[in-house]
């Protein structure tokens, strides 16, 4: 297949707006008469609210409205099963930063002073700040009134195939415990939303990743029909999963706009962004694997315990994700997964780049390294022996189609010289692989409708594509423009885009779970092909030739320019519009919980990290990272590389320094200075390889690129530390203190390791046993179930 746009490293369609300061982000909007909103937040991690007195605040000149939870009592939440949040709490607060009241005033300083003037009386409760504490009987009371026992939110237990038989068959069985500390997205843009209320209709511009979910939450809490609410995605300053939930400030500004009749804006301070969070869950993990003596996996048992923070958020899905994708990289013939999420008095955790899968990926990659070490096998060879094969079904019913694991591994092995590296103390290389979804195969709320829809309008040579997808900087608008341009023989800059606006664009479920290229891309492809057919037919009729002789490309349809062809087609058919939609295939397995994990396609990555480790100080210096990513097909290699490099960067941040931790109920470092993230000086050179496996269902064969490449970086760092110093750091982040402590233990003849010593007793229910599917996959008959 030859393309004129697909596969070309073209600049983003919005690049000029972004480099000239002309892109309008939510906080850049300041319509006349805008009121500024500030939110009063809880200073206590856990407390009952006895009373709220706003009278002094209301008396301050410039204060226009003050609201509390009594004004917004209806609960919401991203998942239908956990509608446990209020925009403002008036009964109980569950973490430092939980919103209580909001003020709209003529300027921000007045709003802040008015928040200070609100008097809240609390009955302080004992905070629950760890997984162990959440599993124990609470001293005062539970954080939430659902779930249980104690502060357990969710328990999962699934078993696929003959696990005990698999362990019995094994020549070697190993158990390990790992811990992955929580961390946060830290988008450069602080969350911001601005609402207006005109003629009975609310319009909200927000820094959200998903206009549709905000739309739903607003309708529910404000008790307005969805057609009276419009949500528009403003130019986006980075999300990484952190702007995927509906947030209190979005609901609050809408309510305040309704009450005051004026535009109301709320931009979170950086400190508030740390409280809004929804970031990486801290996860404690236990894994037991049986292998034959040549390293073939016979069975695996994986347990996870997630510290969820105070609310549900995406947590039920996150819990399943800690167990879902182990089988998508390694062929595991029998698999048991037990997962648990607990509530603690911290900002809620949710989806961050890789959602629930970087933690188990860290654990399983290091665990397999250790097994190879036990058996005296080369870890790369041993992992390779267990790689899944394309066109198969895993034991837990995940459908694997295209799979470039072998090629990705070969590319990074060759380029890094991993096999021929010179061994010397203090220098090491580590290898790891991973996989990620190209969009979740099932929707968050049950429905049979498409996950993405695109409409195209052609009018006297102008092309406009409409889609609800939100460009969060990853370049989804550019992908849509490239696809439409390719099919219509134009350039991406010829395509006008209208995106992420619930009034004017058809639905797209938003920028999360790496779904946009695959799902909106397929919808755009269908719409564009239909439009192309109309233009071809009109041109063919005028030329008096059959349609298949009309050549499309270079701005021409046969004998005509694009503009002429569009005029001919409009004369022939009337208004020129076309539409396409994408609904994922129904491929989930026949068991409860099977909706988390299936995806129409999985991306694959392999990574080698080369580092120096100082034996005295434990300081690490990353020399270089090689990463190969199976993206199916790179619709725009420049943008794919950008996603891969950004993922490696974020992976290194998590591996080396980023952590969101608490002391006495308080966030230890809610600022950009104290929350360490990599700077220009910390980033090594990255060598990126794009592997194209041409997925059978992706648009032009494309799969995801924005999340998967983060995953292998973290275990590769820890494996490289072992290669350099002979110590295992079984806990993320891999900090100098931990390395020094492991070296001290090594020196004393103790196990050369830093990491958790035990996994707690968790009252998992009895495993639901699920028969594995037939392993071979017949794509011609995809809807087996």
């Amino acid at each position: 297949m030859s393309f004129s746009i697909i596969g070309k490293p073209l600049p983003k369609v919005d690049a000029v707006a972004r480099v000239t300061g002309q892109a309008i982000y939510a906080d850049d909007m300041l319509p006349p008469r805008t009121l500024h909103c500030r939110i009063l937040r809880s200073p206590h991690p856990h407390a009952r609210i006895l009373s709220i007195d706003t009278s002094a605040a209301r008396r301050i000149p410039g204060v226009v409205a003050v609201i509390t939870g009594a004004d917004l009592p209806i609960k919401f939440g991203i998942l239908p099963v956990t509608q446990d949040e209020r925009a403002l709490e008036h009964e109980k607060v569950r973490y430092v930063g939980d919103p209580i009241a909001a003020v709209a005033a003529t300027d921000e300083e007045i709003a802040a002073s008015a928040c200070d003037a609100i008097a809240v009386e609390y009955e302080v409760l004992d905070p629950v700040m760890s997984i162990d504490a959440a599993l124990a009987t609470p001293k005062d009371e539970r954080i939430q009134d659902y779930g249980g026992p104690n502060n357990i939110h969710k328990l999962v237990a699934l078993e696929f195939g003959d696990v005990e038989g698999g362990f019995a068959r094994a020549d070697h069985v190993r158990e390990d415990v790992f811990f992955f500390q929580g961390n946060t997205h830290l988008p450069m843009e602080q969350h911001s939303a601005i609402a207006t209320y005109v003629d009975g209709k609310v319009t909200l511009w927000s820094s959200t990743q998903v206009v549709h979910y905000v739309h739903r939450a607003l309708a529910k809490v404000l008790e307005l029909p969805m057609n009276r609410i419009r949500v528009v995605g403003a130019a986006h300053g980075g999300g990484f999963g952190g702007k995927t939930d509906p947030f209190a400030h979005e609901i609050v500004v809408a309510k305040l706009a309704m009450m005051t009749g004026r535009p109301v804006k709320c931009t979170l301070t950086r400190e508030e962004v740390f409280y809004a969070h929804r970031g990486r869950h801290p996860v404690l993990m236990w894994v037991r694997t049986g292998v034959t003596k040549d390293g073939r996996i016979t069975a695996m048992h994986f347990k996870s315990a997630l510290d969820g923070g105070a609310y549900g958020s995406y947590g039920v899905a996150s819990t399943f994700y800690t167990g879902a994708l182990q089988t998508v990289t390694y062929d595991i013939p029998a698999y048991r997964f037990e997962g648990c999420r607990v509530f603690t008095n911290k900002p809620p955790c949710g989806p961050k780049r890789g959602h629930g899968t970087p933690q188990p990926r860290f654990a399983i990659e290091l665990h397999l390294e250790k097994i190879a070490h036990d058996l005296g096998l080369d870890p790369v060879d041993m992992k390779r022996r267990n790689f899944v094969k394309p066109m198969t079904r895993t034991v837990n019913w995940m459908r694997v189609t295209s799979c470039g694991l072998e090629e990705c591994t070969a590319r990074v092995m060759d380029a890094s010289g991993f096999r021929t590296r010179k061994r010397r103390p203090g220098r090491g290389m580590g290898f790891a692989i991973s996989s990620y979804l190209s969009g979740a195969g099932t929707a968050i709320y049950w429905n049979d409708m498409p996950h993405s829809e695109v409409q195209i309008k052609v009018d006297r040579g102008g092309v406009t594509a409409f889609c609800g997808a939100m460009d969060i900087g990853q370049g989804s608008d550019s992908v849509l423009a490239a696809i439409v341009a390719e099919e219509l023989g134009l350039q991406p800059k010829d395509i006008r885009l209208v995106t992420a606006d619930t009034d004017t664009t058809p639905i797209d479920l938003g920028s999360y779970s790496s779904r946009v290229t695959f799902m909106a891309g397929n919808a755009a492809l269908e719409a564009a092909r239909k439009m192309r057919a109309l233009l071809v037919e009109a041109a063919a009729a005028k030329m008096g030739r059959p349609a298949d002789s009309v050549r499309v490309g270079g701005g021409r349809f046969g004998d005509f320019s694009f503009e002429e062809a569009s005029v001919l087609a409009e004369a022939r058919f009337g208004t020129l519009t076309s539409a396409g939609s994408y609904t994922p295939p129904k491929i989930a397995g026949p068991y409860k919980g099977s909706g988390v994990g299936p995806s129409p396609a999985y991306s694959y990555s392999a990574c080698v990290v080369d580092l120096d480790a100082d034996q005295r100080t434990g300081l690490l210096h990353i020399n270089k990272v090689w990463i190969a990513h199976d993206v199916g097909r790179a619709i725009n290699p420049l943008l794919v590389e950008g996603q891969v490099e950004g993922s490696v960067y974020m992976g290194l941040g998590e591996a080396l320094m980023e952590e969101q931790t608490f002391r006495k109920g308080l966030h230890k470092w809610p600022s950009m200075l104290e929350y360490k993230s990599p700077t220009f000086l910390d980033m090594p050179e990255i060598e990126t390889f794009l592997v194209e496996t041409n997925d059978p269902e992706g648009p032009y064969g494309a799969k995801e690129a924005g999340q998967g490449p983060l995953l292998p970086v973290i275990p590769a760092v820890s494996a490289a530390v072992f290669d350099a110093l002979g110590v295992w750091i079984d806990e993320v982040p891999v900090t100098p203190e931990k390395i020094v402590e492991a070296l001290r233990r090594q020196g004393k003849g103790e196990p050369p390791r830093y990491g958790p010593s035990r996994f707690p007793d968790i009252p998992y229910p009895k495993c639901i046993r699920v028969e594995p599917p037939p392993k071979e996959l017949d794509l011609a008959a995809p809807a087996a179930i």
Partner: protein
């Protein structure tokens, strides 16, 4: 009760020279340059990520040198030349840095971009052909969460090459 707003606010008339244009504004003395640019002058190209001097997002040039506008009070820089991202292009012609950032994908979400462009401009004015390490050093105070910095380094290098020896741009000729 803490309530500073009821105290009279000290206001001054300040004359600012921004992107070559002079403006006089009546400002509370404690209002930062960042706020004045964005709210009083509607120059919203200058962004903010912390408002505490920690992220570099709000970088502007004052007499050609990078300054964090969230830490500067207008009264401190009266009469000095301020450059924001809106002042980088000449007319509709992009600055070579803007051109290179756009071509090479150095702006993903673009939120850090204005600050990084200005810090880079200042670097290239004092060092026309910086090495990758010199660029890293000069931009170490500017965080970016999207790009992993790689394409930004490429773009600053490309711009420096073009500025040192103007070559036809990609896609031309």
């Amino acid at each position: 009760m803490r309530n500073e707003v009821e105290r009279p606010v000290d206001r001054h008339v300040v004359a600012l020279q921004v992107n070559g244009e002079r403006t006089e504004l009546l400002l509370p003395v404690h209002k930062t340059l960042l706020e004045v640019l964005r709210e009083d002058m509607h120059l919203t190209g200058t962004k903010h990520g912390c408002e505490l001097g920690e992220c570099g997002t709000c970088t502007v040039l004052v007499d050609g040198k990078p300054e964090l506008s969230c830490l500067v009070l207008p009264i401190q820089i009266e009469g000095r030349a301020i450059t924001t991202v809106e002042g980088l292009a000449s007319g509709s012609e992009l600055h070579p840095l803007q051109q290179a950032f756009a071509e090479l994908g150095a702006a993903q979400c673009g939120y850090c971009t204005p600050g990084i462009l200005l810090a880079s401009k200042s670097l290239l004015e004092s060092n026309g052909r910086p090495s990758r390490d010199e660029i890293r050093e000069a931009l170490a105070g500017n965080l970016c969460r999207c790009t992993g910095y790689a394409k930004i380094l490429d773009a600053v290098q490309l711009a420096s090459e073009r500025m040192a020896s103007p070559l036809p741009r990609r896609g031309e000729g």
